[in-house]
């Protein structure tokens, strides 16, 4: 009965709000997905934070700082949305530290040169935007509203990355080589950010029925590739995929085989930076403990004074 009413609401494109009845599986699916999304925003600050102190100009530094600060904000919006499902911030962070909750695998790759700041903003944020634009229509109200806010802020992220790449691609031969190298390293992990091919993706069923997900992984991936190919040409770089070519019949680009063995190996902890990313988060969290303690005791004191 409840379940049927719930589905009717979903079918009518009405949003589900925190106090509404929902199937337990809907709730747990959302907690998993939103927390993974939140952790990705937070962990995603590390590969870029790595370059703030070494940005090549004051302008570049201010932009990168503002971008990383936005990502912290995105993480917080998403933690808020997730908490409306009845899980606490502490539990969410604990799940991350225990390795029970994941974050996007892309952040387990290192950022080796300044050109990587270009590749990350342009491709990683670019791919994330395609996904997030689609999620603006997700059925859970708080998640959907968070996505709307995030999408508004994302638009500069991709552009600043593309600007860095364009700049380097027309620089000295060494700079152009760095740009191409960054593209080579980030291309495949970026298109794998959309997740496994739908034929191998067991959870898609209910997520689509409940409109948590609005488009298939393959559909989103294709959209990203189609819109990026032209941008690569404009700045004179080359996508590291010999099979990439326009398919007149489909009206889309065909592309080569993705290396899912590597993808799963990185997801399961064997990427170049998995340990480093998590350790850094744990360290920052425990080093901040005295600040939280001090703020807490100050707040308790104020309550006594004002009582």
């Amino acid at each position: 009965m409840n379940e049927q009413k719930f589905q009717e609401k979903i079918d009518l494109e009405r949003k589900i709000e925190p106090k509404d009845w929902m199937p337990e599986e809907y709730r747990s699916h959302l907690i998993r997905q939103i927390s993974q999304h939140a952790h990705s925003e937070i962990i995603g600050m590390q590969p870029e934070g790595n370059w703030i102190s070494r940005a090549p100009s004051l302008r570049a530094k201010m932009i990168l700082l503002a971008k990383v600060q936005d990502e912290a904000g995105h993480g917080l919006y998403l933690y808020s949305a997730c908490e409306t499902l009845g899980i606490s911030r502490e539990e969410l962070v604990q799940q991350l530290h225990d390795g029970k909750a994941k974050y996007s695998s892309i952040f387990n790759y290192p950022t080796l040169s300044w050109a990587d700041m270009g590749a990350v903003g342009w491709l990683v944020d670019g791919a994330a935007i395609v996904n997030q634009v689609s999620l603006q229509r997700t059925s859970y109200g708080p998640y959907s509203r968070g996505m709307v806010k995030i999408c508004k802020e994302e638009s500069f992220h991709q552009r600043q990355g593309y600007e860095i790449m364009a700049e380097m691609a027309k620089g000295t031969p060494e700079q152009k080589e760095m740009a191409q190298d960054a593209l080579n390293r980030f291309w495949w992990p970026s298109i794998m950010m959309f997740g496994p091919q739908d034929s191998d993706s067991p959870r898609t069923g209910n997520a689509m029925k409940w409109k948590i997900k609005r488009q298939f992984n393959d559909e989103l991936r294709q959209k990203f590739i189609d819109q990026t190919v032209g941008q690569v040409k404009v700045i004179g770089l080359e996508i590291p995929d010999p099979d990439l070519k326009w398919n007149e019949e489909r009206g889309h680009y065909d592309f080569g085989k993705m290396n899912w063995d590597e993808f799963w190996s990185v997801v399961n902890g064997n990427g170049p930076c998995n340990i480093q990313r998590l350790d850094h988060h744990k360290k920052a969290h425990s080093e901040g403990e005295w600040v939280r303690k001090a703020a807490r005791s100050y707040s308790n004191k104020q309550e006594i004074i004002n009582a």
């Binding site: 106090k19 606490s88 509203r145 939280r292 703020a295």
Partner: protein, 94 residues
């Protein structure tokens, strides 16, 4: 209070003269930090001229689902809307 998790709801007035609008929430241990966090989290692009923060526990909400009954008293009073009234032909500015 064992941890740091006081939740504050945030309302922003986007421009002088307009009403404050709910934008989201945040965690903070006290009201000063709640205001500062709200500024950093919700007004990074000049979204507001004034911020209110209210402890979430102080907000009382009606039920969002099956709450129609709560609003029943006003449902049948269509005479509260100007479109209910017939005006004589030719009347203006009313």
């Amino acid at each position: 209070m064992s941890d740091n998790t006081k939740v504050w709801e945030v309302f922003i007035q986007s421009k002088n003269g307009l009403a404050h609008k709910h934008v989201g929430n945040l965690h903070a241990p006290d009201k000063e930090m709640a205001l500062q966090n709200a500024r950093d989290l919700y007004t990074r692009r000049n979204e507001g001229s004034c911020i209110w923060v209210v402890k979430a526990e102080h907000i009382i909400s009606s039920e969002s689902e099956d709450g129609e009954a709560f609003f029943d008293p006003s449902n049948d009073k269509i005479y509260r809307h100007p479109t209910f009234y017939t005006l004589p032909k030719g009347s203006k500015y009313i």
